[in-house]
Symmetry: C2
């Protein structure tokens, strides 16, 4: 019994007294099987505990049903929320998700993609890092679709989903002006990813255009602790900013905590704060952070429907790009509103 623990279609066919093909057809949606055969096959399968072997099926059909999710820092609130949304959409589309954790290096993304190829993944969705051009080409050549979320890359082939980060930055400048702030700041991480930099760019240029005093500070990765450090740097300046736009909610939470608890500043009376991502904690009573909501549903929906529907092949050769708009969620970290 230990020698043959796997039940194959052959076994089912034998028990049901039909041919292997009949079994196969029974489990192939839209194949023609008589009701009687079907019934007998199903019963035999049930009794034997038979399940179709997707590895073998994928081999034949040349479609594995596997979609790779490539991500680093997956335990972060924003990332895990996006991951959840993607996973759910993918499952609803009948796909199965293979999760690959990378560190922040680009070649670890390359390794992840290589694994995706080995497992004949139908598509890869990349949430962190940026693969080498040659790898991307390799994936495409292997018939794999690719989706890049919040990555900047202008190679043709992958679908790129981005947010209007620069515009968001501009909007915040306006919001601060309406709140009566004249000297403002941008708190960024050193990660230097395109979306982070775009927010900075939009904010700084708009603030300057509005005649505000604006400064920028960058430190560490985009986490809570970095936010505290950024607060120390910005709030000890000769002229203290009245409002700061944090590149990320996590930064904003750290910033707010330091501002209140260590500098005794009250938000929003003495300091206006805006974040980005709308992580769950942004809505917590201690923060009530005004922030931009990532359109997670829209992102997941776009990604999944794009890679599922077999669109025209020539379409694939073009650069496909989707630009989504984040919603500004008003809470209580900015005056007025």
């Amino acid at each position: 019994m230990a020698s043959k623990p796997f039940i194959s279609a052959h076994d089912v066919a034998e028990r049901a007294g039909v041919s292997r093909s009949a079994v196969s057809r029974t489990f192939t949606p839209g194949a023609s099987v008589s009701a009687e055969t079907r019934r007998r096959v199903l019963q035999a399968a049930e009794e034997l505990g038979y399940h179709v072997n997707q590895l073998a099926r994928g081999l034949m059909r040349r479609e594995s049903g596997i979609v790779c999710l490539i991500v680093s820092d997956a335990a972060t609130p924003y990332r895990s929320a996006l991951l959840r949304e993607l996973t759910i959409h993918l499952q609803n589309a009948g796909k199965v998700v293979m999760l690959i954790n990378t560190d922040r290096s680009d070649d670890s993304v390359g390794n992840a993609l290589r694994q995706a190829i080995r497992y004949q993944a139908e598509a890869s969705i990349i949430l962190s890092g940026l693969p080498d051009k040659s790898i991307t080409q390799l994936c495409l050549k292997n018939g794999q679709r690719m989706v890049l979320i919040n990555r900047d890359d202008d190679q043709p082939g992958p679908l790129r989903i981005n947010l209007k980060d620069e515009e968001a930055g501009r909007r915040v400048a306006l919001v601060f002006e309406r709140a009566g702030c004249r000297t403002v700041a941008f708190a960024n991480s050193e990660a230097g990813t395109p979306s982070l930099m775009a927010r900075e760019r939009g904010f700084v240029s708009a603030a300057k255009a509005l005649g505000m005093e604006v400064c920028v500070e960058r430190f560490g990765w985009t986490g809570y602790e970095a936010g505290k450090v950024l607060a120390h740097r910005l709030l000890t300046r000769a002229i203290r900013p009245e409002a700061v736009f944090c590149a990320t909610d996590l930064l904003a939470c750290g910033f707010m905590d330091a501002a209140r608890l260590e500098f005794g500043l009250s938000v929003p009376e003495q300091l206006c704060l805006v974040g980005f991502d709308d992580i769950e904690q942004a809505a917590w009573e201690s923060y009530k952070l005004t922030t931009f909501a990532q359109p997670l549903q829209a992102i997941a929906n776009a990604a999944v429907s794009w890679l599922c529907d077999p669109q025209e092949t020539d379409n694939l050769l073009h650069v496909s790009r989707l630009l989504l708009e984040p919603d500004l969620i008003w809470r209580r970290s900015v005056r007025g509103g």
Copy 2:
């Protein structure tokens, strides 16, 4: 070219001027190939962009390399942290993770396991819900190993990893006594999972034994909002508890926010609070929550090493159980310490 986008070992063999088996051996660790053949194969493979097809390899070797992670509410801080740890350990062990999101129902877990079988997963790790006995048997019969984390189940076969929840509850009662609290409470969710109930049991019995006034409130799922509701219920009682043990950090955060911001209570002076999980937010300045740290590393390590090393088969027939001890992390939500 669109007709044959896949490069097979056959193509590589042709280009390298060797047989298909030589190619196969080159990519099989520990097979005997001459250095020269190996070199030529590797070169041809590189030029062609060949990658071993794991689906086909898995079919032959009867080992897919796939391990399923079955989880609901994966975006929650504790769950995502555990997920990350497991994923990393699994990857380091050369496995590839298949992520399956379930809702909280047990039959959705069953479906997930069925999928695991279809993909010939070598093992499944279950973080939420509890599969039906028959499904578990089916998995085991299909040669699949199973790990249940923080689930209660006494079927033989799966490895069960649990925490000493009841003991943790008892420890908290002692901590509260040392802080000079006489009337205490346990804030729980209605989920009623074994680990949550064990914490409650341990705490309540120990508190009673210490002669304390103890009450219990249960509401909703184990999230931030539920914590706020629980605070409302417990803090409006005729005799207000001086200390409460929350079943979860998320509950504790909600509880603390409501206590401070809506009831004007100061923690820990007027109210002592202890949580469970040690999620990242528990360390944030606004909370500084005294809590139990889940031994995530130990859990992941135990799970992965158990399902990777080919231990004796008869061992599998016994109930394997691992009982881990959570560390109490002292922060500032309890007096004394």
